[in-house]
Chain length 91, copies 4
């Protein structure tokens, strides 16, 4: 991953790790179920953002690299990988 | 939350916290983007499972309590909360 | 369903039926795949709107009726049905 | 689209058009809301299948064509289109 994206993603992941720890605390403190569920949705959305950031970086560099190289086998592999990722994402 | 569900959810959340830490490590070690995205999907799915577990417990106890109590205002509040949660979930 | 919601939903469904017919035409005319996929997403979003409208009406009347009646068995049935619908919706 | 995929997709879309007409009928006949919502989910799932089929065909032919041609600008365009489609799909 490129230096900037890497720093950005790492920062997001550390914040998410703290949010998950916060969820354990909410459960421990018997917080209202609906507030816990609302917070879980927030963490899932934050993970989605990280996913999008990693994919953007992947396309801008790994996939772009396969295009620039003119290596067809590598280009096909990159497309197949993206299709598999998105097949999952759509589920 | 009921004692068992609470223990179960807490265990799941601790595992998820470890998985998020693992994600930071994968980024740090420049692991392949697609492997990182695949692992992010796994963590999001694990959070979804926790969400479902918390909601099941909520319906089995908080919502059931509102029904048993016969308190209509409370019953309406519980339904409105669920609709809001699911409105988000469907987005 | 209430008279207004029924009219509204029927109008939406007729428009959606026309959109699906339009999709067959796009395929017939060999329109660009990406344009077809974009239109499919639009139809799926329109169906989601209908779903939300039907559910809103259901909660405002069938579920509200179960609450007003004070019939606990019916209230439990209504909640179980909603949970099942949303379990699917979240998938 | 390739001849076979085209026939397959057209058949699916005609079935879906009939399902949407069936939904209007269900509303007209005041069928139970939950049954209507369940049927709407079935139609949305059927549309998703069509979407996947169109995309598979797109990748196997349009995207593959861009790779075979070695035309980098076209390859970049194809990737950008897929990313946009999937960005929507994930929302």
């Amino acid at each position: 991953m490129q230096k900037d994206a890497k720093a950005q993603v790492t920062k997001r992941l550390q914040r998410i790790e703290g949010q998950v720890r916060g969820l354990s605390r909410m459960v421990e403190e018997d917080r209202y179920c609906i507030d816990i569920v609302t917070q879980i949705s927030a963490v899932r959305a934050a993970l989605r953002k990280v996913e999008e950031e990693v994919l953007r970086d992947h396309v801008a560099h790994c996939v772009e690299g396969a295009i620039a190289s003119g290596n067809r086998a590598d280009q096909r592999k990159k497309i197949a990988e993206l299709m598999e990722v998105f097949g999952r994402a759509e589920r």
